[in-house]
Symmetry: C2
Subunit: 609 residues, 2 copies
């Protein structure tokens, strides 16, 4: 069997297997898999170039199920490719199975987790840029997209960037089955509405019947010959092939009532195994070079913004490590990613003001082993928070830099002040949250981030701050630094508040109070030993809301310790506004004077107790 | 002076004032204001219908500066409208001024804070739907948009929904000045690229020279006659009128070097005051009716999902209160917003899978006093986190509902499990975070949310849970409920873990350990008195990451108390996967057995100490 006959049979097999594994699990989205089955059958049998034995090979095509809920279809494809057994397929959604409700990289052939809709294309754009501009392989990114998820704005960031980067190696397969979760989509079967939008964004669009394997074949052929990104807009039927559910609302996310009948209607169980073609080449074309790292050095007492040190360190890292890439959300002259751009232009990618695509590009590029550093204002990382959340499920390794954190930015006002970023980033699984106070410390931590697992976030400051560490000082992720010894009170700070705490300690010393000052630059992981060894009251101080930040991280470290010192949390508690940094730090109650006052209160309470 | 002559002079005045206030502040974005000055001059002098004395009048047009950094232009318009003095204008960006770097509703004529780009249009869509479908006034929403921010995906959610809702009362004014913050935009002065995209999304688009007041006038005339949403795509020049900065990169976000020379070049200071036309009508057309609230009642021992109770309570509220509106992100059959939709269809708005537009619609509608309830899966609120963050700066009052929270959802896997939502929502200024465990409690809290200030978030569960409260029980925001008395150990829980804690308490009682069980349904604000009065060890347990959730909120309440009991935080700490709810609760260490174990450990430690 070959050609159209094979494809048709394979499509039916993928449907049958979708029905079967959902029936076994008694849940899942089989009807969503059934609409895309013919599209995926032709892709698997003829067009996909993939070495299942070497899934991370940069020469492989990438297949992303943006409509991750159609996982039954993806897993059915694995069985059809001969890489999983029928028994494995039927573990779908079970506790012990890697074949989860939505695909994750626990499966070796899944590069990115999906299941939050509208993310596959932006990830694919990252992969396709990597393939074209970094790995330099003939790879192609194939993205299966549902019609419901076309309402997500993030799709259009992907469309825009694919056209801008002239990605002739990306194909979006739009499975237009008309029905969303709770009813008809905005555009139903109006294929033109999708095709016209794609064309307006500079794509080549092809409208087809998504169940006609010959039309599908022709469209793929046209797609791989195109010199532009291609959208295949395919009219499909949800639940195709089974009358009881075909094109019927109310069948999203449910196993079929009568799977036996459905399987019979689909022509029974098949056991076709197709030989998926491997890519003609293997590995990336380019060599990744390494040189000695020469980090920037700053002199004690100089005034340097940590964001500037970030840019300079990143540029140094880029020159030393050929695997380091950077991208920025059109604020590279503020985050200082522009220093990297000027030093290593071939590995810098402008993402414009599209923070979801910014993070997605990083996630897409790390799939083949690149080490991305994505930067924007810390406040705007909130725009991509769902992408960051999902990238933890993707087990992605990359670095994020957020500049202009806190009220210390001054006149621009609260829209530009990240005051929730520490809380948000701490609550990402496996994340690292760093907040240096000094240029030398920043440089060292940037270098460390490049080898750190998971999502590593560095929070930098707008204003210049005094260099307080020697260029030779070393800083571990998970460490802290005691800047001043004292046993009456501990002042625990990070970033701008370290400088305020040092000033407060001077003032307290004049009163005879010996304050220990701890620079808790690594907020997650946190130096629990240093915190738990504090047998004195503690003032924590942060340029961030009180919720979920440094203060609560300190409290969590102390929660079950034998000694639980009294802690006062200084943090931003009222909505800030424009003003000078010093005015705003004072108003928020996190400047040296307020720290000293809090310390005096706590020491007084300890003495009187 | 009138007509084109007036408009030209007024445009120059707006430029001069932009230059002046930035010069005084020594910061700001005058060149971004200068490009849009003529567009805004014609709008202010001829088209805007606005009663500055009654800014909240639903009959008013709404003017949103999506490019919020062009605030100098907005404030210059206020001076030209005669509502602020020159002295007030010149307080720009000062600590004591309401005229901040980016506009906020501290200014009576600003409805929503902007400054995070790509948000103005989605808010405007919410306002325009409210005007057309709720207030039923002839209002129009005018949105000034920068070209850089067109890269934000959220724009296209706005475009899509404006067309879907046939908003002939929204006009997007695109100020295409070619230059972003760090260089040229993606499309430069290619007006077609913007106009074609808008047209593909179903809008009417008009390309003009944005400095030709007669073309501008004609375009506005065409816009107000259109039966579709309209995009005016205007070619403009950044820094227009001042040779030193005109169309030059490197002048974003900076006061001019020589403001005196610039003012002279612009023809000097002017003091034109235009009489802005008021709307022809006043107030909304419709009456908001009130009836007695009859909340659903659930019987003790029944099994009801809190998400179901949310939907039923919301429907009851909608029938009782004519100001309650609801919107959902295409999952209304999961969040049960569909019960409201069926009960009160005229005040339900489908937002499809576009979470940013979902939140923006709520924010836009509350401007004229509607009380929106926006719902989706709790996990997907992360998609709109920047909109939620910004809406706190907008001082917006609305309700958010996130369903399917935590590992207790089971088989769908981690992409659908919100495990960061409590942390993220706590770190929003002035927010309320509620997490009921029972249907009666949910219903009562939904009713309370409708009168609560700020952003009120309710987190609901997928599985059915036992009804443990009487229908007559009352629950205050900021309260807690002691479900079981005991003095050996306190178990503090919310949502699904309340049921696990009750079961743990039974097991502990069999060992002779008397556990107090506290239902901390109001995580923010938190019942500090109840927590601080606990003179016993505490186990907190939550179906959420350990960071920033219920446990840390409890620790924060205890931080500086006299008695600081030992606390063990039970929370999700490893990446979950698909499985049955009970399997996943056990694996995460937050089920009854793990709670009881933790309690035994802590009680044992307390006894041996």
């Amino acid at each position: 069997m070959e050609g159209p006959e094979l494809w048709r049979e394979l499509g039916q097999q993928l449907r049958v297997d979708s029905v079967r594994c959902a029936a076994e699990a008694k849940s899942g989205h089989p009807t969503s898999g059934m609409s895309g089955a013919d599209l995926m059958a032709v892709l698997l049998a003829k067009y996909l170039r993939y070495d299942f034995d070497n899934p991370k090979d940069p020469a492989n095509d990438r297949l992303v199920f943006s409509k991750g809920h159609a996982s039954t279809l993806l897993y059915a494809m694995y069985r059809a490719a001969g890489v999983i057994s029928d028994e494995e397929l039927l573990t779908y959604r079970q506790f012990s199975s890697i074949f989860e409700g939505h695909p994750t990289p626990r499966i070796p052939w899944v590069d990115v987790a999906t299941g939050s809709l509208g993310q596959g294309l932006p990830y694919g754009v990252g992969m396709a840029i990597a393939g074209k501009r970094l790995d330099e392989t003939p790879m192609r990114a194939w993205i299966l997209i549902g019609d419901s998820e076309m309402a997500e704005g993030s799709q259009w960031e992907g469309f825009e960037h694919a056209a801008y980067y002239e990605l002739d190696n990306i194909v979006a397969v739009l499975d237009i089955n008309r029905l969303g979760q709770r009813g008809e989509t905005m555009h139903g079967w109006d294929l033109d509405s999708y095709a016209n939008r794609a064309r307006a964004f500079g794509w080549h669009a092809i409208e087809i019947d998504g169940h006609d394997v010959e039309e599908i074949d022709q469209a793929y052929g046209e797609a791989i010959a195109s010199d532009r990104p291609v959208a295949i807009v395919a009219r499909t039927i949800k639940g195709k092939g089974v009358k009881a559910v075909e094109d019927k609302p109310g069948w999203h996310g449910k196993a079929l009532d009568d799977p036996e009948q459905a399987i019979e209607e689909l022509g029974g169980i098949r056991n076709i195994v197709v030989q998926v073609a491997k890519p003609e080449t293997s590995g990336r074309t380019v060599e990744i070079e390494r040189a000695e790292l020469e980090l920037p050095r700053y002199e004690l007492g100089d005034e340097v913004a940590t964001r500037k040190a970030y840019g300079e360190a990143l540029a140094a890292l880029g020159k030393a490590r050929g695997d380091v890439v950077a991208m920025d959300g059109e604020v590279s002259n503020s985050t200082f990613a522009e220093i990297f751009r000027d030093a290593v232009p071939e590995r810098y990618f402008e993402m414009f003001i599209a923070e979801e695509q910014l993070v997605a590009t990083a996630v897409g590029m790390q799939v083949t082993g690149w080490r991305p550093f994505a930067s924007t204002f810390a406040a705007f990382i909130s725009r991509a928070y769902d992408f960051v959340r999902m990238s933890a499920i993707s087990r992605a390794n990359y670095c994020l830099s957020g500049s202009h954190a806190g009220v210390s930015i001054g006149e621009d006002g609260p829209s530009q002040m990240a005051l929730e970023d520490i809380a948000a980033l701490r609550a990402v699984h496996g994340s690292t949250v760093l907040h240096p106070c000094d240029a030398n410390q920043t440089a060292k931590l940037v270098a460390k981030m490049a080898d750190n697992e998971g999502i590593s976030y560095i929070r930098t400051l707008r204003p210049n701050t005094a260099v307080i560490y020697e260029p030779g000082d070393d800083f571990e992720i998970g460490g802290s630094r005691t800047l001043r010894e004292g046993d009456d009170i501990a002042l625990v700070a990070a970033g701008i508040t370290v400088h305020e705490a040092l000033e407060a300690a001077d003032a307290l010393a004049a009163d005879g109070i010996e304050a220990r000052v701890i620079d808790l630059y690594s907020i997650k992981p946190l130096d629990e030993e240093a915190i738990r060894s504090l047998a004195m009251p503690i003032v924590t101080v942060e340029d961030h809301w009180a919720e979920g930040g440094l203060g609560e991280a300190v409290l969590a470290a102390l929660a079950d310790s034998e000694e639980r010192p009294r802690v006062e949390l200084l943090a931003v508690r009222e909505m800030p506004h424009s003003g000078k940094p010093a005015e705003l730090l004072a108003e928020a109650g996190i400047d040296a004077a307020h720290i000293a006052d809090a310390a005096r209160r706590l020491v007084g309470a300890a003495v009187s107790a």
